[in-house]
């Protein structure tokens, strides 16, 4: 039964991937991509990796999908005079080799990888056992959270910096003369829905953050849900991105500031960088995670809201906007 499900899942995943690559309509490709992300989340569930599944569904399928749909809307507004959001504007069919080459290289990579996994030597070191051994000293009960925020917290610190840099780049690209956005007319249906949807979304986000200390969940997933709620509010016509600029910047950086401050201040007691005192490790980790959730939510939302508004919406854009 499970095997049949896995095989079906694998085939559906491959079909979605092919759909993304071979669809000539950009919008359809994006929809396929979102479906691909959701199926991939299911694959992670089947592989007993619910943390990854949550992240994949929220970020890979959810927010990335929103960004892509937004990009398609921009493109089709620009190409409205030509022929919609098509890959090739000349209408010529792509060369045969440009279709065969990717398939050919994919097959080679697949064979190489298959061999690499088939003849894989048994790992002489078992990291999961080590994690389980040291878990009591980490301050949290969920091994993934222990790895992300204690054992390998340095990686996470730098990952947050990557997110922050991404949003800084987005801000840098925003033109200086940002005239107030042409009043995003309030959609009555979305507006009504938001009153019912946003509060439970926020509760779920906080719950996932809280759950992270003893079961799958944590700052990234919670932050993604927070961001989704914000995106929803913006689409419903609330002008939340018009927060004071300085306030927004502090909010974006808050998680990183708290993380870096905690990481550095423990050194005053003579401990190495990022070594939490064992008695308060759990509390510190939760505090950092809470701030991170807030900042990650804002950062992911900012990546969406910093995008310039579509240029001169024309009638052909209407279709996409309705679907959105």
């Amino acid at each position: 039964m499970n095997l049949a499900f896995d095989v079906l899942l694998g085939i559906a995943l491959l079909l979605c991937a092919a759909g993304v690559f071979y669809s000539r309509d950009l919008f359809r490709a994006v929809v396929m991509f979102i479906a691909f992300g959701l199926l991939l989340a299911l694959v992670w569930v089947r592989l007993d990796a619910p943390d990854l599944a949550l992240a994949e569904a929220a970020i890979g399928a959810g927010l990335t999908g929103v960004l892509m749909i937004d990009a398609v809307a921009h493109l089709s507004a620009k190409n409205a005079h030509h022929q919609g959001a098509q890959f090739d504007q000349t209408g010529a069919r792509p060369q045969l080799w440009s279709r065969i080459l990717p398939v050919f290289s994919a097959v080679i990579i697949f064979i190489l990888l298959l061999g690499a996994i088939w003849w894989r030597p048994d790992a002489p070191v078992s990291l999961p056992d080590l994690v389980a051994e040291s878990l009591p000293e980490s301050g949290v009960e969920h091994p993934i959270t222990a790895v992300l925020l204690n054992f390998r917290s340095y990686d996470t610190l730098l990952e947050i910096a990557v997110l922050l840099v991404a949003v800084v780049v987005a801000m840098a690209l925003k033109p200086d003369t940002s005239e107030p956005e042409a009043g995003n007319s309030k959609d009555p249906i979305l507006h009504g829905l938001s009153a019912r949807l946003v509060p439970p979304m926020l509760v779920v986000g906080v719950y996932i953050l809280w759950a992270g200390s003893y079961m799958p969940g944590g700052a990234f997933q919670g932050g993604a849900i927070l961001a989704a709620a914000l995106v929803f509010l913006k689409l419903a016509g609330f002008g939340i991105e018009r927060l004071a600029d300085s306030l927004l910047r502090i909010g974006l950086a808050l998680g990183f500031i708290v993380f870096l401050t905690v990481a550095t201040s423990v050194m005053i007691g003579g401990r190495p960088f990022l070594t939490y005192p064992e008695s308060v490790a759990g509390e510190l980790i939760f505090f950092i995670e809470a701030m991170l959730t807030f900042s990650i939510g804002l950062i992911l939302f900012s990546l969406f809201s910093q995008a310039p508004p579509p240029v001169a919406p024309t009638s052909s854009l209407q279709g996409e906007q309705d679907e959105r």
Partner: protein
């Protein structure tokens, strides 16, 4: 008190300051930060010189559970060159950004994030941590390329981003395979466990391809010239001098430090071959350019090719020849970093002064703005590998290694490459010393700020001085790490 974490904390803290407090004079504050950073680097350098390599377990978790930072001779040398070049670029940017108000706002946060990520990469002793470092470098570097946000730089930046992400995927795939086969991400432990088998070879192939894309080695070089040629002058200098070296550094560490026993001779020769192609192709394309910044950018493509020659010279040869190649390669990293940053900075001044990017516009400027042209020439001397210069010493060591190990084909490549370099450098001089243009009073230029001319001259001078002081870094490179780790174990 261990200094290693401060090399990361200082740039990150300064990044936050310049991001959140834009009303402060963040340029001068950045210069202050660079002084603090340089001081910390110098102290660490001294400490490693006296006591040997240091290892630092972050969070007090030992590898493989935690992440270890390593400061050995190579690391501190790279940290020092990074601090030095970044400081001069920051000083230059103070003057340069006066004419780029909009870009100045976000230049500084990205500058500091770039510095933090570079330091993180030099210090990393863990494969996955290197991946995170590479991501941070990529995003900061792409961000700096597209700061001026015009059509060309946006297109170049986007192409850079896509290629860099492709490289990241290749690297990550390989790391995942290595982890699944050996159960550890720590490079020192991996060096002891690694064996030549199918999984290792596929993993190393994937990692190498990913890193070659990121280092812009021929034939994956095409994203580099528009990105480096189109960026602001101080950004081009940082990118060409340091950023492309970061992924080469990982490649060299992985093959020659971790996987020296599993490197097949054919792979090493293959690396050398694409290096030779890069030298000739990059030099040839540089000769064809009519924009001065593109010429310098293609010169980077060519000079990166020399780095790839380290692999055939160092792998599978006698220890003394291998050592010569390793030292020559690393000296070339330093010499090229100094010379190329000097070149991009001086070219930035020239472009600003004549108001055009074309090489032809430089006609007759030799009498108008001699200092910047002199800096360009000194940097050129090092790039060509003429004595006395850092570039000469680097190529000399590599030549000795090639002759010693009887690999005459690389001797030919090294010599012809220098000739080609001379050709495109002299192309610029032929135009700028054009007597007719000087006599006719052409080439009237705006005055360049003294700080910009001086920065370029300083770096170019160092590139030459490295020819006299090459023993200093080379000695540090041959620091026996094995010995110091034994000492550490006995403590």
């Amino acid at each position: 008190m261990n200094l290693i974490p401060f090399l990361l904390v200082i740039p990150l803290a300064w990044a936050l300051i310049s991001l959140l407090l834009p009303r402060l004079p963040i340029g001068p504050i950045a210069l202050l930060g660079m002084l603090v950073q340089s001081l910390a680097t110098a102290l660490l350098w001294r400490s490693v010189q006296l006591h040997g390599a240091e290892r630092y377990a972050i969070g007090d978790w030992m590898a493989p559970l935690g992440i270890t930072l390593v400061a050995d001779g190579l690391t501190v040398t790279l940290l020092a060159i990074t601090a030095l070049i970044a400081m001069v670029c920051a000083f230059y940017a103070l003057f340069y950004l006066r004419s780029h108000r909009h870009e100045a706002r976000y230049f500084w946060p990205l500058f500091w994030f770039l510095l933090a990520s570079l330091n993180g990469i030099w210090l990393a002793g863990d494969l996955f941590n290197l991946y995170v470092g590479l991501e941070l470098v990529t995003f900061a570097a792409v961000g700096m390329v597209i700061l001026s946000a015009n059509r060309q730089t946006l297109a170049a930046g986007l192409r850079y981003l896509y290629m860099a992400l492709l490289g990241s995927i290749g690297y990550l795939l390989g790391v995942a395979l290595l982890y699944s086969a050996y159960g550890t991400l720590d490079m020192r432990q991996l060096a002891e466990l690694i064996e030549p088998n199918w999984t290792t070879h596929v993993a190393m192939l994937s990692i190498s391809l990913g890193l070659l894309v990121k280092t812009a080695i021929f034939p994956f070089h095409f994203w580099l010239p528009p990105a480096h040629g189109g960026a602001l002058a101080p950004v081009s200098a940082l990118l060409s001098a340091l950023v492309v070296k970061s992924s080469f550094y990982i490649l060299a560490r992985l093959w020659l430090d971790v996987g020296a026993d599993v490197l097949p001779v054919i792979t090493a020769q293959g690396f050398g071959l694409i290096g030779a192609c890069a030298i000739f192709y990059g030099g040839f394309k540089a000769l064809q350019q009519d924009e001065i910044k593109m010429l310098v950018a293609y010169s980077t493509v060519a000079q990166l090719g020399y780095l790839m020659l380290v692999f055939p010279l160092a792998a599978g040869t006698a220890p003394e020849h291998s050592m010569l190649a390793w030292q020559g390669g690393m000296l070339h990293v330093l010499a090229h970093a100094l010379a190329k940053s000097a070149m991009f900075l001086s070219v930035g001044t020239l472009v600003l002064a004549v108001g055009s990017k074309k090489i032809d516009a430089l006609a007759g400027i030799s009498t108008r703005i001699p200092l910047s042209l002199f800096a360009f020439g000194l940097a050129g001397v090092s790039l060509m590998g003429l004595p006395p210069s850092g570039g000469f010493n680097a190529k000399w060591l590599m030549l000795q290694s090639a002759i010693g190990s009887g690999q005459w084909h690389w001797v030919v490549v090294l010599s012809l490459g220098s000739l080609l370099t001379a050709t495109y450098i002299f192309k610029v001089f032929r135009v700028s010393f054009d007597q007719q243009a000087i006599d006719s009073g052409k080439g009237l230029v705006k005055r360049a700020p003294w700080g910009m001319e001086l920065s370029a001259l300083f770096l170019a001078g160092l590139a030459i001085a490295l020819g006299f002081a090459a023993a200093l870094p080379v000695e540090l490179l041959s620091l026996p790490e094995v010995e110091s780790s034994l000492m550490e174990a006995s403590q």
